[in-house]
C-alpha cells in the first residue's frame, strides 16, 4: 500500500503542476478561456489510447502466457481507459458547446468514433462482469481485448480519413502547429495524467489481487456454511 500511496502523492503533485501550466498558458484569441479545456481533453484521450493499447497487450500476453498478472493488467487498464475516454468525451462536449455552439456534432467523425470506442470497452467490462469463473473470464475478455483495439487507430486517424470539424493532429513529425507555451502546457499535463494513470493502475492491480485472495477464502467458508433448504427443515 505504501507504494500506491507514494504514487498517488506524486500523481497529485503532478496534477497541481499541470493545473498551474494550464491556467498560465496563453489562450486562443477566438476561443478565449475555453482554450484551457484542451489541457484536460487532449491528455485524457492520449491516456485512453495508451490504456486500451495496454489492454490489448495484456490480453495478447494472457493468450500466450496464461498468467493472471496479464489479465489484471488488461482489466485495470480497460477500466481506466473507459474513465479517461469519458473525461475526454465530456470535456470535448463542453468545449464544443462553447466554440461550435453545440455539444455533439454529427459532422464530426472523431466524436462518433470515440463514442463507439467507449461503448466497445463498456461491452468489454460488461463481459468481464457477467463471467463468474476467473479463467473463463480471462480467456474470453482476452479475445475481445485483442479485437477491440482496432477502434484506437480508427479514432486516431478519423480526422485524416473523413471530412471533419475536428482539427487534425497538432503535434506531427513535421512540427507543432500551436504556440510553444500551449504545447508545453499540454505536454506537462500529458505527463501528469500519465502518472495518475500509473498510480491508479497499480492500485487497481492491488485491488484485483486482494479480490482474488478474498474469493479464494470465501469459497472455503462457503463450503462450510450452507443455507438450509426448505425441504430439509422438518418442523415448519
Amino acid at each position: 500500500m505504501t507504494r500506491v500511496r507514494v504514487l498517488l502523492a506524486i500523481a497529485a503533485a503532478g496534477m497541481v503542476v499541470g493545473l498551474w501550466f494550464a491556467l498560465t498558458a496563453p489562450t486562443d484569441t477566438l476561443q478565449g478561456e475555453f482554450t484551457r479545456i484542451i489541457n484536460i481533453h487532449a491528455p485524457s484521450m492520449w491516456l485512453a489510447f495508451l490504456a486500451f493499447g495496454l489492454t490489448a497487450l495484456g490480453s495478447a500476453a494472457w493468450l500466450i502466457r496464461r498468467q493472471t498478472r496479464w489479465d489484471r493488467l488488461a482489466e485495470g487498464s480497460a477500466e481506466l481507459g473507459v474513465m479517461f475516454t469519458a473525461i475526454g468525451l465530456f470535456s470535448g462536449m463542453v468545449w464544443g458547446q462553447a466554440v461550435w455552439g453545440r455539444a455533439w456534432d454529427w459532422g464530426d467523425p472523431r466524436l462518433s468514433t470515440t463514442a463507439v470506442m467507449f461503448f466497445v470497452y463498456v461491452g468489454y467490462l460488461a463481459l468481464r462482469a457477467a463471467t463468474p469463473d476467473p479463467t473463463v473470464r480471462a480467456r474470453r475478455s482476452a479475445i475481445l481485448g485483442v479485437i477491440a483495439v482496432v477502434q484506437v487507430p480508427l479514432v486516431y486517424f478519423s480526422v485524416n480519413m473523413f471530412r471533419t470539424l475536428h482539427q487534425t493532429q497538432s503535434i506531427r513529425p513535421d512540427g507543432i502547429t500551436m504556440p510553444r507555451e500551449m504545447a508545453i502546457a499540454i505536454f506537462v499535463n500529458v505527463i501528469a495524467f500519465t502518472i495518475v494513470y500509473i498510480a491508479l493502475l497499480v492500485a487497481r492491480i492491488d485491488v484485483a489481487k486482494a479480490e482474488e485472495k478474498a474469493a479464494a477464502e470465501l469459497a472455503l467458508a462457503g463450503d462450510a456454511v450452507k443455507p438450509p433448504r426448505l425441504s430439509e427443515v422438518k418442523d415448519v
Binding site: S112, T113, L127, V136, R140, A142, I143, V146, A148
Partner: protein
C-alpha cells in the same frame, strides 16, 4: 476430413438446424418488418421524409435485427456439442468459417426479404442500376455481421445474459459496416464513387475473418 469438407458439413448442419427451429424467418424477420412499420408512424404522414429515409432505416433495422440472426439459437452450441466437435477433431477455424457461411446465407435471405418490405412500404427514391451495388453491399454486410456474431456468440457462450451482452459487443464494432452500407447507396444517389465504401466493407470483413480464424483455438477454449 479436409478443412473445406468440415466447413461444408458444419454449414449444412447449421442450416438444417435453423430450418427446423426457424428463428430467423419465423421470429426475427417478422419482428424486423414490424419495426419497419412502426418507424413511419413516429414520423407522421410525411411521405417525402419516409421515402427519403427508407434506405437508412433499412440498414439500421437490417443491422440491429441482423444481430439477432447472428446470435440465433442454431448458432449456439451447448457444451456437449462443443466437446463432441473437439473429440471428433473438428478444426476450430473450420467451425468459424462454416458458421460464418451458414449465418451469411441466412443473413442475406433476411436482408433480401427486408429490402422488398422496405421498398413496398417506403417507396424510396433509389438511384439507377441500384441492384448490383446493393446486392454486393448486402453480401459484405451479411458476412461481416455474421463474423462479428460468431465471435461475440463464442465469447458470451452459456452466460445467462448472452443475447443482450453479445448485442452490446457487436453493435459498436459493427460501425464500419453501418457506415459502409449506408454510404454506398447515398454515394450512388449523389453520383459519387462507391469504391471507398465498398473497400471499407471488404477491409472490415477481411479483418474479422483474420481475427476469427487466428483466434479460433482460444475461441473454442473460451466457449467451454
Amino acid at each position: 476430413m479436409s478443412f473445406w469438407s468440415q466447413v461444408v458439413e458444419i454449414t449444412r448442419v447449421d442450416l438444417k438446424v435453423e430450418r427446423r427451429l426457424g428463428d430467423t424467418m419465423r421470429i426475427v424477420l417478422p419482428f424486423a418488418v414490424v419495426a419497419l412499420l412502426v418507424f413511419p408512424l413516429t414520423l407522421g404522414v410525411d411521405l417525402s421524409a419516409i421515402s427519403r429515409l427508407g434506405p437508412a432505416v433499412f440498414w439500421a433495422i437490417g443491422i440491429l435485427f441482423g444481430m439477432q440472426v447472428a446470435l440465433r439459437q442454431a448458432a449456439h452450441d451447448d457444451p456437449e456439442r462443443r466437446d463432441l466437435y473437439a473429440l471428433l477433431g473438428v478444426d476450430p477455424a473450420a467451425r468459424f468459417v462454416g458458421r460464418t457461411l451458414s449465418g451469411g446465407v441466412l443473413m442475406l435471405g433476411f436482408l433480401g426479404v427486408l429490402l422488398v418490405a422496405m421498398i413496398a412500404l417506403y417507396s424510396p427514391e433509389l438511384p439507377d442500376s441500384w441492384f448490383g451495388p446493393l446486392l454486393l453491399t448486402s453480401i459484405l454486410v451479411a458476412v461481416g455481421l455474421t463474423e462479428l456474431g460468431t465471435l461475440a456468440g463464442e465469447v458470451t457462450a452459456d452466460l445467462h445474459n448472452r443475447t443482450a451482452l453479445a448485442s452490446l459487443i457487436i453493435a459498436p464494432l459493427a460501425l464500419p459496416l453501418v457506415i459502409g452500407a449506408s454510404s454506398t447507396l447515398e454515394a450512388m444517389t449523389r453520383d459519387a464513387g462507391i469504391l471507398p465504401w465498398i473497400l471499407i466493407l471488404v477491409a472490415t470483413d477481411l479483418a474479422l475473418a483474420v481475427a476469427g480464424v487466428g483466434l479460433a483455438r482460444p475461441l473454442e477454449e473460451a466457449s467451454r
